[in-house]
Symmetry: C2
Subunit: 383 residues, 2 copies
């Protein structure tokens, strides 16, 4: 149970090299998302989201079982979250929400989005709680702008919604001891007394419905839900199913962290076109050659190129177009400048839509007065 | 800092012998309540509550300073609490509330009473949360029946009031790490993840006012407030002052625990006269002699007699009468039966009043719609 901590620090999500992802599958005891499961899903949904098609979501826990149960008539609901910190969201933060939104569209199910405003503060990743609280609301607006159904989506900030969650947290916190918490999450006695308790709060929303919780999230978040699976049935609820993603690259290169606290590493949701273009041209690590001449002669390496990475993960949905870019880049037909130009445009295309929707977002519907939100402010945990 | 745990287990409040109380004073670094401080208090209040006069509250932290500040015009407020468990309250549980009520009467100040319905559950002292929740309300009613001012007293159950407390708990929980929590409270990694977090919740009410918190409680509770004192000024609040009591004896004898889960050890608040009398006669350890003849000849020992203990701590307020009882018992003039009969009557006198008031208690005033309660449901923590 301990070894995975040599690969990732759960409080600093990242890995060192591609093969670490396979190790994580083994250490966590999860399964790879293979073509069989994707075909089964596609049979229901008609198509597959680019994040699935490209296998950026690459592992799962019981998603195959969930699909079988779905086919037998069993319902599920979606749950994911975002811990606000000391800066706004970057494009990497969108990943779990984009897949969650796709699932909502395809299956017409409820989505619960937790904004834990205590986590980063207790982790000491951010020092100003009032500022975190402001980002909590900003993040909620950004997330809502991705196109979730306002009557089937409930976005809640922990400190606002704690009254409804606390009873369940009392039950959950009793089932987990410090030993387990430490061995699963890797913190030590220098941790604040808040952080172990937070585990309970991240588990609570899996009990919002008596249906199966499906949780798209980074693979670093799986430990929370492994603990949930030890508890859920005892309380009369379903074990959570997770769909687990890899980590995005920062602009500095392969397996660097896109960190909101380092603006050189990240493209933020509210960056304008010029900023995006500037950052990509100035900071995005390139797999191209040192000179144009060499590039034309020897070609570039898309597999270490941050622009190509982002196209392949998310921003180039057209599989043929991506293949063409890849091939031309390898052949040296496509230059680094051209690839960067194209990537900047694709990212802007994507973000400008979100920015536009964000201007007029009615966040109250998601948080307080949409159909699901109204229901949830009446919700009480029952065992 | 560690040694006091050889003397008391904070989660099982009791000691082994009288001299342990002095050791606790040294280990905790608190001060004895001496005649100087009592005279200073009496100068303001006119008289002294029996629990002070008999020095059952025997230690304090900064109470002398609080009195000086009071004389300079500074205000204070009272805070204490009761963690509901799997049975109703016994007479020992009344101690901190009786002194708190006396202080309210004398100083006309606000009282805050916390009913933490999560603590015993997280401690695994009780297994049925729903039952604890029921006792929480029963305990609130019992406490309110002691005669607190309904417009100046706020009784709150953690799980109900958590929304208002949580922001402060977020701040407090960040300031305490597991190391400190363990060394101060003596729990280990088998503890649930709830218990360390609970420390924050017990500290939060010390920030309900920008006045000095005065906390009458058992000396085992002092560690919570020692931690509070490390944090308070950083947040712009006052360090807590505590008035610390000894532990009551169970019916089984000196330094046994009066435990609500052992009905042979305890007299409950709602016991009727016959039950009280029966328990005292059947279970109360006596300092009397084996036969009446021996008793008349050699006399009894009041210092190991549970009936006498309870008279001296609380139920015989008349100092002269107590002295007379003590002397007559030592001389063998007063028999064990007579002492028990008298004690049963005094306890019944005391409890029947509470039981009578409890029948018609308007608990909503204390919890929701009295003047202070209404204010507190609007209260928000500000740093």
């Amino acid at each position: 149970m301990n070894e995975y901590k040599d690969i990732i620090n759960i409080y600093d999500a990242n890995i060192k090299e591609e093969k670490d992802y396979e190790k994580l599958i083994k250490f966590f005891g999860v399964k790879e998302i293979d073509d069989i499961i994707l075909n089964n899903l596609k049979y229901i949904t008609g198509d597959l989201h680019v994040l699935l098609r490209r296998k950026f979501f690459y592992a799962h826990r019981d998603f195959d079982i969930l699909l079988n149960k779905y086919n037998e008539g069993k319902r599920f609901f979606l749950y994911t979250g975002r811990a606000p910190s000391k800066s706004k969201m970057h494009i990497g933060h969108l990943i779990p929400f984009l897949l969650t939104k796709w699932f909502q569209e395809k299956f017409n199910v409820n989505v619960y989005i937790q904004i834990p405003d205590e986590e980063k503060y207790w982790e000491k990743k951010a020092d100003n709680y009032e500022e975190i609280r402001e980002y909590a609301l900003e993040d909620a607006k950004t997330i809502a702008s991705l196109g979730f159904d306002p009557d089937k989506t409930f976005i809640f900030i922990d400190s606002e919604y704690i009254k409804n969650m606390y009873k369940a947290a009392i039950y959950v916190a009793r089932e987990i001891n410090l030993n387990t918490a430490k061995s699963v999450f890797g913190f030590d006695d220098n941790s604040t007394i808040g952080l172990p308790f937070y585990i309970a709060l991240q588990i609570v929303p899996t009990f919002f419905e008596r249906n199966i919780p499906l949780i798209p999230c980074g693979i670093d978040q799986d430990p929370y839900f492994r603990l949930q699976r030890d508890i859920a049935e005892k309380f009369g609820y379903y074990k959570a199913s997770t769909i687990l993603s890899k980590f995005v690259w920062g602009l500095q290169g392969p397996y660097t962290k896109m960190s909101a606290s380092d603006p050189k590493s990240a493209i933020f949701i509210d960056d304008d076109y010029d900023t995006i273009r500037y950052k990509i041209f100035k900071y995005a690590f390139s797999g191209g050659r040192g000179t144009l001449e060499e590039h034309r002669k020897y070609g570039g390496n898309p597999d270490i190129d941050v622009s190509y990475f982002w196209l392949s993960v998310l921003f180039e949905e057209d599989d043929n177009k991506l293949k063409e870019i890849r091939e031309k880049y390898i052949m040296g037909e496509l230059t680094t400048g051209e690839l960067k130009e194209y990537t900047a445009k694709k990212i802007w295309e994507f973000l400008s839509n979100i920015q536009e929707r964000r201007k007029n977002i009615n966040i109250d519907k998601f948080m307080y007065d949409g159909r699901l939100a109204r229901e949830m402010w009446e919700w009480e945990f029952r065992i």
